[in-house]
């Protein structure tokens, strides 16, 4: 049984902090939680909301209804009241919200609170959110102790008086709501769970895998990696640098990686556009770095705080010319942690750029972990020469495509890493030798050598697997996958059996395996892109046309209801 709480108001109303207290109360009781922060690109004003879905089972999406709605302003009531479920509860700040013209669903209870006034009486208007938390906590059947526990954890450092005032505010909220029957009881169901957004998952994975350098320029929705690493980096061996722009970011990361650090940078589509020339340089000079691209609504400034999955072509096409790069798309924070490890490790071992594709929804939605994060036991830095034996050829032609490198500082193994085409010993062929008979071969050999990295890497990556037994195959990537999983379960209850394929490694791509899976099958592509970039990519790789698709590009994350609603007519078409 799941419960969904939504808090809405204006930017500056403390919507997120209100939501976070509630989300944490549940995760500390052992519930699975999905806490989605829908905000605007403004600091004050503009409609924002925070959605918390909790369950004893893993939570795979934000859901499609609201059980308890907290309206800090009137607009929240107008926009979200239609989603309140039968028997749900609407809590509203009576000084700002008038529910008389709002139609509430059947059996919905309504609690008016004067949180602001109560907070001022207790001693600070800032406590209004905690009053509201109390009212919601009562309505949702949370024990006051479990909320007090979060307050203690959050405000304990600020002193006893601060905690005491928060407790008073909380009690006041419970009191406001006392005449309403809680919709259900939420008590302890297991040990405390960590509540981790996707960005922190990537950062934790990279750190586990020995990350020592991170650079970024502030850009939503990648900024929280910068914030998190700036906070924990110094104690965990990571140099963190905010640069003057994304061009500086990627080049500093390349410099650090070439010097021998494990290096990562993060951005969103606009920043990635600035980085692309240098990413090609890393491809040519064979420098391994990780680039996290957290996608938001594009093009251009687009929808800064809304989600989309439409940077696929930009990542695939980053930089001029042909060169190998890898691209992995994790689907939830646990998977983001794993992708952080894999990307860090592969970039270093294969000496090439590796993208981790996230999106606003995955990057900033806090989710609990269903299982432990596996530790990294040892670091494999790949082919590194430590002592000179014979001629050192930095760009030696190898079967794997990977040439043993030296770490600057090592005697007798000096070389120049160039953005120009070069011979095995790093001598340029670009300026005076290009076009000469021997250089034609050098050029081809070097291009082919670099390209072989992806063939070698593909062999160590597991091929994707189809989930489910029968029915059409629904394909997605990244954060859409768990939502699709829940949608499929709902459809199965209605008698529509489907299967699911998640494309995690986009580059290198298991072309043969995927073609074999899809050949002769009915398949649909579910993605947050208006043009259907993933669908095009699948066709490009396999030569197979999708039967249909569900696309979302209004900026909001997929929900199971969105998928089932849009998929139902497609299935009927096929049946007809």
């Amino acid at each position: 049984m799941d419960t969904i709480i939504r808090v809405g108001g204006s930017a500056g109303d403390g919507v997120a902090s209100t939501g976070q207290i509630l989300a944490r109360a549940f995760s500390r009781l052992g519930y699975h939680v999905n806490a989605y922060n829908s905000y605007q690109s403004v600091i004050r004003g503009g409609h924002v909301w925070y959605n918390i879905r909790v369950s004893e089972e893993p939570v795979e999406s934000i859901g499609d209804r609201i059980d308890v709605l907290l309206c800090i302003d009137h607009q929240t009531a107008e926009v979200h009241a239609p989603l309140v479920a039968e028997g749900g509860v609407v809590v509203h700040e009576a000084s700002k919200v008038d529910l008389s013209d709002i139609k509430l669903p059947k059996g919905a209870a309504d609690i008016g609170i004067t949180a602001l006034e109560a907070a001022k009486e207790i001693g600070s208007p800032l406590l209004a959110n905690v009053v509201a938390v109390g009212a919601v906590a009562h309505a949702v059947g949370l024990d006051p102790e479990s909320v007090r526990d979060v307050i203690q954890a959050q405000f304990g450092r600020k002193g006893e008086k601060m905690v005491e005032m928060n407790y008073q505010a909380l009690d006041k909220g419970y009191e406001f709501a006392s005449q309403v029957e809680p919709i259900r009881k939420h008590g302890r169901v297991g040990p405390q769970r960590a509540l981790i957004p996707g960005n922190e998952g990537i950062a934790l994975g990279a750190m586990a895998a020995g990350l020592t350098f991170y650079a970024a320029y502030p850009m939503t929705p990648a900024s929280t990696i910068l914030h998190y690493l700036a906070q924990v980096g110094p104690d965990n061996g990571v140099v963190v640098k905010q640069m003057e722009d994304e061009i500086g970011v990627v080049n500093a990361t390349i410099g650090a990686a070439w010097a021998g650090a494990r290096a990562m940078c993060g951005t969103s589509g606009g920043g990635l556009a600035l980085m692309t020339e240098a990413i090609g340089f890393a491809g040519m000079a064979e420098v391994g770095l990780v680039i996290v691209n957290s996608m938001r609504g594009g093009p251009s400034t687009g929808l800064p705080t809304k989600t989309e999955q439409a940077d696929l072509w930009q990542m695939l096409g980053a930089g001029q010319g042909d060169y190998p790069k890898a691209l992995v798309a994790p689907q939830d924070p646990h998977d983001a942690y794993l992708a952080g490890i894999e990307a860090t490790e592969i970039a270093d071992r294969y000496q090439m750029p590796v993208f981790v594709a996230s999106d606003f929804y995955l990057s900033e939605t806090s989710m609990t972990l269903d299982k432990e994060l596996p530790p990294v036991d040892a670091i494999d830095r790949g082919a590194v020469v430590e002592k000179k034996e014979g001629d050192f050829l930095r760009y030696k032609i190898t079967d794997t495509g990977v040439s043993p490198r030296s770490i600057p500082g090592t005697p007798e193994l000096m070389f120049i890493a160039a953005s120009d085409e070069h011979d095995e010993d790093a001598t340029l062929i670009s300026d005076v030798l290009a076009g000469l008979p021997n250089s034609l071969k050098v050029r081809i050999d070097q291009v082919d050598k670099r390209a072989r990295k992806l063939d070698t890497l593909l062999k160590e990556l597991p091929a994707p697997e189809i989930e489910g037994e029968t029915g059409p195959i629904l394909i997605s990537w990244g954060s859409t996958a768990p939502i699709l999983r829940e949608a499929r379960r709902q459809m199965a209850k209605d008698g529509v059996e489907t299967r699911q394929l998640t494309l995690r490694w986009i580059l290198p791509f298991h072309t043969d395996a995927v073609r074999e899976m899809l050949e002769g099958e009915t398949f649909y592509v579910i993605e947050a892109s208006s043009s259907g970039q993933l669908e095009d990519y699948i066709r490009m790789r396999t030569g197979l046309w999708a039967t249909g698709n569900v696309r979302r590009y209004d900026g909001e994350p997929f929900t199971p209801g969105y998928i089932t609603t849009h998929f139902a007519p497609l299935v009927q078409e096929v049946v007809a």
């Binding site: 110094p234 061996g237 640069m243 010097a259 494990r262 770490i407």
Partner: protein, 297 residues
């Protein structure tokens, strides 16, 4: 292996310079090789990072580790190298187009950041490799392929910008005064913090205006001004006067040391991770993140 005293020869690679005969950049690479040899900084402990342009081919003509990066980006790359391994001596080498046009944004921030590195700009006031267009340091009226009617923009003032942005060593040399240039580069490498050495390094093929002869007639040593100018020798601790001298005066352009500030903490010395003794290259190891996960409960 025991590290013996270096000679200039140890710094010269097998790759023959591709510059035109008579190019000013020969003097710059020699000055750098001499300075490193005199300071006995081993080639394997040195990273020479360049951008794109004729002058940016320089790392290939030397034996240290090096990166020949992309146009305008050598400064962030060099900074990344230095922060990743503070044990390396990091030297950036590029041209005026690379550093003051496409890379000007990085230049301003590198100056204020005070990363411990040396940045040598071979300033020939023209785009050479692309066969002679106007550069950010081309003078007003300069007729080039891209300004056939004469350049209508005033030139970029790298010395003034570096001073305004807080660089702690700001100097200018001249390829035609090799002794002075060698001493300058040596002093820049020894300087703790960000050191700019702008070097007038004439392009003998595409700049028929700013020639060796022209420079010899036009420039003067600010630290040892000629008697006929009737000005006081410049004291490099005087930043305000250094700024004033960064502009042409009496139709002459100054070179020498405009500013030197010792004792200012470098970026690396203040970075909390590096300050704690971490070396991001040597300290790549698995991290136990369980406590961090615990903190998110």
């Amino acid at each position: 292996m025991a590290e013996t005293e270096l000679t200039v020869k140890d710094l010269i690679s097998d790759t023959k310079p591709t510059w035109c005969p008579g190019c000013g950049d020969f003097g710059v690479v020699r000055a750098l090789q001499t300075a490193l040899a005199e300071l006995n900084i081993q080639p394997h402990d040195t990273a020479v990072i360049s951008g794109i342009g004729c002058s940016s081919n320089l790392p290939h003509f030397m034996t240290p580790y090096g990166m020949h990066t992309i146009h305008g980006r050598l400064l962030p790359v060099a900074m990344g190298v230095k922060l990743a391994n503070p044990e390396l001596t990091v030297i950036g080498t590029g041209g005026d187009g690379d550093g003051y046009a496409i890379g000007a944004g990085h230049f301003a921030h590198a100056c204020r950041r005070n990363v411990d590195m040396t940045y040598i700009v071979m300033n020939n006031q023209i785009y050479g490799l692309t066969t002679g267009q106007t550069s950010p340091t081309s003078g007003e009226g300069h007729t080039t392929k891209s300004t056939p009617g004469g350049n209508i923009e005033p030139p970029f003032n790298p010395i003034g910008v570096a001073l305004a942005e807080g660089a702690t060593f700001v100097a200018r040399g001249f390829s035609g005064d090799p002794k002075h240039l060698q001493a300058l580069v040596k002093r820049a490498i020894q300087h703790k913090g960000f050191a700019l050495v702008d070097v007038f390094s004439p392009c003998v093929t595409f700049n028929k205006l700013n020639t060796f002869k022209w420079y010899k007639q036009t420039i003067y040593n600010v630290n040892e001004p000629p008697k006929d100018m009737d000005i006081e020798p410049h004291d490099p601790s005087d930043r305000a006067r250094g700024f004033a001298l960064s502009f042409p005066g009496q139709d002459r352009i100054g070179y020498g040391v405009f500013y030197e500030e010792t004792g200012k903490l470098t970026y690396g010395e203040q970075d909390p991770t590096l300050h704690a003794g971490v070396n991001p290259v040597h300290d790549v190891k698995p991290r136990d993140v369980r406590a961090l996960v615990e903190a998110m409960k």
